[in-house]
């Protein structure tokens, strides 16, 4: 057990170091960092002084070490374009992205699970066929196209909802939220549905297939033989047993929701981290790019680490396998 945790943890650290190396390589070797920081009228002596002050003449390993130490403390330097510390920019944008992602995840769960249960119970029903067809179309439509269609329908033709930005936000000091104002909540509707749709079809299909599998098992037949009400069987016995994989997948998908937020934020000009990153790519704003790279990698590594450890704790078979492999190896 301890060996597994240590091995898994070391692997995570290795991934993070690799990503950090890429981020650092970008920062150090794409263009001259000094040229990107100072204006045209800075003299050569001043440039050399700055170079010396920033330690850009030090050996590679020393510089990389310094980069990692700074990154761990959340310092990624100054954005070339915004002329402000990158960590401030990200802190400013983080609430927008997280709010969008969490609302989208909730929508996906609250709509996807009931749809999955329904299609699982009524396999041949008319509504089930409609749901399944819609989900196939939902998988084939790229996220950004769904966003554009929603904008066209509700923003341009019907004029019900705002098509870009966050609306009015309330500043709580350390967090800005759009949930407390009417315009903020309205602005959230279309982006969150766009982001939720793909995950929703995924959850629906997952719940459906899990339900179909569980409904075939002996204990469900036994519950029916005992004369329990359909409701109690379907929800008390069947649904409960399908929820473990659903929760795991949703947990894993949280990372990809934040990644897909890049696309949604671009479509709706949502002022989050994803939009910041896309603008950084277009303007070759390296410090912002490397910061985002490290952050998203950290996010994924943590989620995967937690899921793996939970699996290990829940599933005893994994433990047996690893000892067998260990003995042979």
């Amino acid at each position: 057990m301890i060996a597994f945790i240590i091995r898994r943890f070391l692997q995570s650290v290795l991934v993070m170091l690799t990503v950090a190396l890429i981020a650092f390589g970008l920062f150090r070797y794409v263009g001259d960092p000094i040229n990107n920081m100072v204006g045209q009228d800075t003299s050569l002596q001043e440039r050399e002084a700055l170079r010396e002050g920033l330690g850009l003449d030090d050996p590679f390993v020393v510089q990389f070490g310094r980069f990692v130490v700074n990154a761990v403390q959340g310092e990624f330097g100054i954005s070339y374009r915004h002329r402000r510390p990158v960590e401030d920019l990200i802190a400013e944008r983080l609430p927008a992205t997280l709010e969008l992602s969490i609302v989208a995840a909730l929508i996906a769960l609250l709509v996807g699970v009931p749809m999955g249960v329904y299609t699982g119970l009524h396999r041949e029903g008319f509504l089930s066929r409609v749901f399944m067809t819609l989900s196939l179309i939902g998988v084939s439509l790229p996220t950004f196209l769904i966003g554009i269609l929603l904008i066209l329908l509700f923003g341009v033709v019907l004029r019900w909802l705002p098509t870009f930005g966050r609306g009015d936000v309330v500043d709580l000091g350390w967090w800005t939220t759009g949930l407390l104002t009417v315009s903020g909540a309205k602005a959230l509707i279309m982006p969150s549905i766009t982001l939720a749709l793909f995950q929703m079809t995924l959850i629906m299909r997952l719940v459906r297939s899990e339900m179909l599998e569980v409904l075939r098992t002996d204990y469900i037949k036994f519950a029916r033989a005992r004369g329990l009400a359909n409701r109690a069987i379907n929800f008390g016995h069947a649904l409960k047993n399908t929820l473990v994989p659903v929760i795991t997948i949703t947990g894993l998908q949280l990372g990809s929701i934040i990644a897909f937020a890049i696309i949604t934020e671009s479509v709706f000009q949502w002022p989050g981290m994803g939009l910041l990153f896309i603008q950084a790519i277009n303007e070759v704003d390296i410090p912002v790019m490397s910061a985002y790279l490290c952050m998203i990698a950290l996010f994924f590594v943590i989620i995967n680490l937690i899921v793996d450890l939970l699996y290990y704790a829940v599933d005893p078979r994994l433990r047996i396998d690893s000892t067998v492999v260990g003995r042979h190896g």
């Binding site: 970008l26 179309i137 084939s140 790229p142 196209l145 554009i148 890049i262 896309i278 790519i281 790019m289």
Partner: protein, 310 residues
């Protein structure tokens, strides 16, 4: 046998095969195949089939800009689906766009296939430390969404290249990024089947005969593990097309000078609010239709080739 006899024989064998039988039984698949074929033909022969030459400045009139589709008020019979902001015929730009989208898609799939199949073969046949390293990397890559990896590779590659080169090399960067983001599926499948094939007698025999491992992998194992690879390839093609369109839509893909479907949607998006919906909706519909058709074909192929489902 002559070439003609071979052909006739091949056609007969195909007509009698299970695959053809299941194809004939599924009307949805037939429609999907027809749609895919139409896209492939119009993409391949766009320069001859397209009603206009949208990227030849001599034939484009700025006066024709923003013409709505034929059936709307103000439509022009010369432009079936209307024109964009520069007076280019939408139908023609979509045909040329599909050419780029499909081209990048096929190239990216081929690239991913070559990397994935080679690594899978090596991993499965040699085993040991090489296998462990390759599969570890695959595991790690699989924990990130493919589109994010493609976006990151694309972004990093762009910042490495000088700005004025972006337009020229954009397509190669895209193929590289999408290819790298998709090799894992191939490698895992091929590794699995290679490990099975490795222990079969014909491989053992080849080994005993002293044929070098490299040659055994390529000549003996490879042909026997390619079946599932083609299925993955078809499904991957849909994913690759979506990824390309998404990156182009985000402005980090194909430049507007030779637009793909995604670039067309991005350009048209600016005119959505002023009522010129057709500039973005038609390329969008074309993209959705293409991806849906390829997805349906891939699903069908997977089921038709899977003996368990018969």
């Amino acid at each position: 046998m002559t070439v003609g006899a071979h052909l006739v024989d091949g056609v007969r064998r195909f007509r009698d095969s299970d695959v053809y039988y299941s194809f004939k039984r599924s009307p949805v698949t037939m429609v999907a195949a027809v749609v895919t074929a139409i896209f492939l033909i119009s993409a391949l022969f766009a320069p001859w089939l397209a009603p206009h030459q949208p990227f030849d400045p001599a034939t484009v009139e700025l006066l024709d800009a923003f013409t709505p589709p034929v059936w709307e008020a103000g439509g022009d019979p010369r432009f079936l689906l209307g024109t964009d902001d520069q007076g280019r015929d939408m139908l023609s730009t979509i045909m040329y766009g599909a050419r780029i989208s499909l081209g990048v898609g096929f190239a990216a799939v081929a690239f991913a296939m070559v990397i994935g199949v080679s690594l899978g073969l090596v991993s499965g046949y040699l085993g040991g430390a090489i296998d462990a390293v390759i599969m570890r990397v695959a595991d790690i890559q699989l924990s990130f969404p493919a589109i994010l990896i493609a976006l990151l590779i694309d972004g990093v590659a762009r910042s490495l290249l000088p700005r004025d080169m972006h337009g020229e090399v954009a397509i190669y960067v895209l193929v590289f990024a999408i290819g790298i983001s998709g090799w894992v599926q191939y490698a895992r499948t091929v590794r699995g089947s290679t490990m099975v094939e490795k222990n079969k007698e014909y491989v053992q025999a080849a080994h005993v005969m002293g044929i070098p491992p490299m040659l055994i992998m390529l000549r003996h194992v490879l042909p026997n593990v390619m079946g599932p690879v083609l299925v993955i390839g078809t499904i991957h093609l849909a994913v690759a097309i979506i990824t390309e369109a998404t990156l182009s839509f985000l402005g980090v893909g194909v430049p507007p000078t030779s637009p793909s479907l995604g670039t067309l949607i991005r350009v048209g998006n600016d005119f959505l609010f002023s009522g010129e919906w057709w500039i973005t909706i038609f390329p969008g519909a074309a993209l959705a239709l293409l991806v849906l058709a390829v997805n349906l074909l891939g699903d069908w192929l997977r089921d038709a080739l899977n003996p368990k489902l018969r």
